[in-house]
Symmetry: C2
Subunit: 338 residues, 2 copies
């Protein structure tokens, strides 16, 4: 099902975000300028701390979705630029708060803001960026966009609280886990993609389709992230294998291994993740059990399922370089890091 | 200048919020219903934690300002109710985050949410309430209200970060301190009061006047709060004397004592507040120095100055029971706890 390019010599080109990145590059440059301008404050610590996490970068996938969907929908104006910046501010605010909540010290291979400046400014600068996001939306003036992004933000916060409760419960069901990652990751992908259709004033069916694309891409993306936490080649990902395990997070590779495991294996998972009583050899044992039950492969199979839904959601749109790039982004989400 | 009622036997009636509370009671009952309905979530920890801080109550001064100013401006509809709830949600969200940032364990005599549930849910439920506030505004549909409250929220967050930096700096100027309390307290008072004029669709001059009333009432309120932290009768206030001192906060009673003190006194303030090196007898010494330089009295004199500005801002409005109650609220802000 993947869009792969046969290079003629039998090698397949690895799917990447390059095509998408290239198509939105001019717009993203302006989005970055807006981000830099609007994270400014007369309180120097704000741009300093915000700049640290925004510069640490990541892929800027969410604002790219807003830009790409707006262009796919034929938007000719500038409205998508400020709104893409708004989406990135919401994302950055949640990252700052997540790192405080998870007591993380590394993100994408860099020290987290809370590790550098402490929890206090991370909480408050997160609040500041969140309010900046709303100011950008208010300046844009669309109540529909405001509704989409404020509803998404409420669901994100709700999902984070839900995750806090289930995060050490090995009896979490796959369904409950999906609810959590919908809130945690997929809602903002969905909203970011929908905003593109709204600024282009496209019919509801197209907005719904792009929201579905974003939602299912987001789910696939998070599923693969959770798989990579037990299987990634560390250097390639700028991410430490075993973070989720050490934090006692219950993700799909674990949920499936727990359900498929015998009672002694379940005792292991309960001790390591619920009681937080971990020995140095436990991560290796966790990976062994996950491999034994083949749950990485099945997590990736689930990811491909959501990826397929995302791909079909694009069916409504005529062929277009951006449509092809958005489809490749699904393959990238699923195949990265392997 | 105070509005006092001579009881005929030489005693003066103490100013209170009773008159204001009575005039807005019917509306506030409905605001409370909206608050209860909208803090609901399928994640039980959210209403549980939010209910804890919202039930702990306080005076609900901010939503009362929105209700009172809307009524003073002749608003006949219902729009002020949801917006008053929105204002209270913003306030509650900032309280939750403040208590995490300040590592406070008591608020108004009750355990703080972070003391009961920990920092993690306090941060995330704060985020949730903040997003709920925006959802309520979006449902109301006024971009003007959204602009006022999102700008106020950004300034509040900015002020909190600024306070974090200056909070242990004994060389903080009175001007810098005023900037901080404007952001921390007065901006939301100002925005809450302005919203009343906006929903009533009154001219800009009236909105500006009510904003000025709220801003200056808020400054007076915070100045007195800061004075009470060194001077209150503890039981009456449900607040521990010396909290600010123990947290190393630089407030006006300290700023004035520092500036008026000899070098050995300044060394004391630096050690206790900048270095955080406090002995058991230090709070008593701080209170002694504050009394020696009369800085409580002068902090209250400053509060009366801002109170006078707030009172004059009401001059634009014809006599009305609510106008009188809003004026009495200024006296209450200044004279409470003494």
């Amino acid at each position: 099902m993947s869009v792969v390019v046969n290079l003629g010599d039998g090698r397949k080109k690895k799917p990447s975000l390059e095509a998408l990145g290239g198509l939105v590059a001019t717009d993203m440059k302006r989005v970055n300028e807006i981000i830099l301008a609007r994270m400014h404050s007369k309180v120097p610590l704000i741009p300093e701390l915000a700049g640290h996490i925004i510069a640490a970068g990541g892929k800027r996938l969410r604002p790219m979705l807003t830009i790409a969907t707006a262009r796919l929908c034929g938007h000719q104006g500038d409205r998508h630029l400020g709104l893409a910046a708004s989406v990135e501010f919401i994302h950055t605010a949640t990252l700052l708060h997540d790192d405080v909540v998870d007591e993380s010290t590394l993100r994408r291979g860099h020290d987290t803001a809370n590790a550098v400046w402490g929890n206090q400014p991370s909480v408050l600068v997160g609040d500041f960026l969140f309010t900046r996001a709303f100011q950008l939306m208010v300046e844009d003036g669309s109540l529909e966009v405001l509704a989409v992004l404020s509803n998404a933000s409420a669901l994100i916060a709700e999902g984070e609280v839900a995750q806090l409760i289930t995060s050490n419960d090995t009896s979490t069901t796959e369904q409950a886990y999906l609810d959590v990652i919908r809130g945690k990751t997929a809602q903002l992908f969905a909203a970011a993609a929908r905003v593109g259709a709204i600024v282009a004033e496209r019919p509801k069916a197209e907005a719904d389709a792009l929201e579905s694309y974003g939602m299912n891409l987001g789910i696939a993306f998070q599923l693969v992230d959770d798989a990579l936490d037990y299987a990634a080649r560390q250097a390639e990902l700028g991410k430490t294998v075993g973070d989720d395990f050490r934090e006692g997070k219950i993700t799909l590779p674990v949920i499936l291994a727990f359900m498929r495991g015998a009672e002694d294996e379940r005792r292991f998972w309960r001790r390591a993740l619920e009681d937080g009583d971990q020995k140095e050899t436990d991560l290796a044992e966790a990976i062994r059990l996950i491999e034994k039950h083949g749950t990485i492969a099945d997590t990736l199979a689930r990811a491909r399922h959501y990826g397929a839904i995302a791909r079909d959601a694009l069916g409504l749109f005529p062929d277009h370089p951006i449509k092809r790039a958005l489809a490749e982004a699904i393959d990238f989400a699923i195949e990265r890091g392997y």
